[in-house]
Amino acid sequence: MSAVATQTSSLRPIAEYDRPLWQRLFATREMAIIGLLVVVVIVATAIVPNFGSKITLTYLLMDMFPVLIMALPMTAIIVTGEIDLSVASVVGFASVLTGVLTQAGVPFGLTIILAIAAGLIAGFINGILVTAVGLPSLAVTIGTLALYRGLAIGLLGTTAVTDFPQFWTDLAKAKLGSSGIPASVLIFVVLAVVFILMLHFTKFGRGIYSIGLSPEAARFSGVNVERTKLVLFVLSGAVAALAGVYYTLRYGSARGDNATGMEMQVIAAVLLGGVSIFGGRGALHGVIAGVLLIGVLGSALRLANVGADVINIITGVLLILAVISSSVFAAVREKAGGRKRRLAGMPAAKPENS
């Protein structure tokens, strides 16, 4: 088993042990995104009026919270080479369910549990269709994107539930003392720690990366590919449902069309954060920076009275640049006759000179 572990870890392209430690830590895509985030924050604080205020930080983190937490399981799913397009629909469904249950007089604590249970089931359905039935996740989750959204709208029609217990809406908007940081960030920190430990420091996590690099190789080396993917889809559904409950309380409104299109923000942030859409590559610190980068850009541009369309264009261009930059520079290197260490599907060569 230890032999297998060694084998999988040397398959991971992010650990290139022929490079000095400082390069491995700092000269990475993740650090590039973190650096870019810092640059954007500094520039925005300098030139956008009111950006550097406490209330901006509060609203920014509140706005991005659903995307932040959903990006965690999404990262793991994309690393396995799959995708979950249904997350925003699960947010909408959980939101509607929260509204309907509240209207029916169910205690709110129980409502939260039921909504998250619904998310678990939604994720389980995705996972079963991908693993047991063997369908591509792109097709499955496009289907459930429509299905869960349809259920959400069907359940509540075009009406909205807008009356929620004051205690819970206040809690969703509570701040940590006078810092301006929303209390919901604590939930994110807990989830982030759990996912970072899972993805980067467990055997299960190494299995996730090896599935992304080569499902067959992963299977032969003892990784339970189906179970791993199923667990990730279930986690994704549950976290999306939690985001749905939060969204409902934050905006005080349960509607079928809540969070429409949010899956694109989540996936964009994950890819921006340096995760390869082909699987096998990426790290959570980059993803978290990616989410914050999209949030900061949106917030700064909105403050500068830039319209939503332009914000989408800028985010889109940034995303495309981030995604193509790696292949473009790889191609350039190839042409220039550089080291052709990593050919598709081949394990990285043994370090030449260490």
């Binding site: 000269a27 954007v40 609203y59 905006y251 005080g252 809540n258 403050l303 500068a304 800028i314």
Partner: protein, 344 residues
């Protein structure tokens, strides 16, 4: 690997910084204008309609801009592409962060955006609703486009003028339980009974705000009542469907049709002579009045209390009514002379 990442990162960074600088500078300039405008002249006002790209709210923006230009304030319009309350919350938050003097919002939900609006008010932003109100405790004032009595009276006056104040008329309404329409119809019937004794309302039919149903009901009315002289349809769907039927029937020009319609839908029927005149409020005036009311609130001339009065430029003087509500006034009448000016 190091080489690749450095370049990739640098490329992205430069591109973003450039984009941000370009857009940020443009925004920064207008904002600076707003801050100085706040102290010298009028208030800085952000309009937040239900959604952007809606001709109705484009008209209210035109009015708001005109008003702001008159009192020397700064006008800005932001809004979501979809008319949902959660999308409005982000824009309310942004206006709060920007510290504008007033937000004028056409609410997508009476309750859902309340917390965001109250946060704005806690940060010294005046909140005015127009077109669609929130719960009264979430805003300082509501600019109502028209009150029920005015809407009813305008329709009765129009049909009376068009049929010579005598003869049979019918009413083509929306759904049988539509609250607004039923209120207006009751008031119209009272008005006709009291002031127009020679007009007989033979029937009220319900087109359910469905184009085809309204179309069929119009056809049925003409069959049932050969002596019918006019139809009043207090719903934009109904009047358009009835006009479509009349424009292709022998009764075109013979039977008067009026009610509440949107100029964009009704233009062709005004131009081909099917319809002489119909009414609706003028969203441009609504925006104009909203901006003036916001300015008066910011300047402290009024607090939104009942009985407060303020001047609204060309529209004259307005008094705040119950529930901090200001009524725009009589519905606006659209006819061959002015229909070309409106495209909502």
């Amino acid at each position: 690997m190091l080489f690749k990442n450095k370049k990739a990162g640098a490329f992205v960074a430069v591109a973003t910084a450039a984009a941000l600088l370009l857009t940020g500078c443009a925004g920064g300039n207008s904002d600076a204008g707003g801050e100085s405008g706040g102290s010298e002249g009028g208030a800085s006002i952000t309009f937040l309609p239900k959604n952007l790209g809606n001709p109705y709210f484009d008209a209210s923006r035109t009015g708001g801009q005109a008003a702001a230009a008159e009192f020397g304030g700064e006008f800005n319009e932001v809004g979501p592409t979809e008319a949902t309350p959660d999308a409005q919350v982000s824009f309310i938050n942004t206006a709060t962060q920007q510290g504008v003097d007033a937000i004028a919002v056409a609410a997508n939900d009476p309750q859902a955006i309340c917390d965001a609006l109250n946060e704005a008010r806690d940060n010294d932003v005046k909140v005015i609703t127009f077109d669609s109100d929130t719960n009264p405790e979430c805003r300082d004032m509501f600019i109502n486009q028209a009150d029920a009595a005015g809407i009813a009276k305008a329709q009765v006056d129009m049909i009376a003028e068009q049929i010579g104040d005598e003869g049979q008329i019918a009413i083509l309404s929306a759904a049988a339980n539509a609250t607004n329409q039923n209120t207006w119809i009751d008031l119209m019937l009272e008005d006709i009974e009291a002031n127009h004794p020679n007009i007989e309302v033979v029937e009220t039919v319900y087109g359910d705000d469905d184009d085809q149903t309204s179309f069929d009901k119009t056809a049925a009315l003409l069959q049932t009542y050969p002596e019918l002289k006019g139809i009043v349809s207090p719903t934009t769907v109904g009047i358009a469907a009835a006009a479509r039927y009349l424009s292709t029937s022998d009764a075109k020009g013979e039977i008067a049709l009026t009610g509440l319609g949107s100029p964009g839908q009704m233009r062709e029927y005004i131009e081909d002579g099917t319809v002489t005149e119909f009414a609706l409020w003028n969203p441009e005036e609504l925006g104009y009045l909203t901006a003036y009311a916001a300015n008066a609130l910011v300047a402290g001339e009024i607090t939104g209390a009942e009985g407060d009065t303020f001047e609204a430029g060309d529209l004259g003087s307005y008094t705040v009514g119950a529930d901090s509500t200001v009524v725009l006034g009589e519905p606006y009448r659209f006819n061959a002379e002015n229909i070309a000016e409106f495209d909502f």
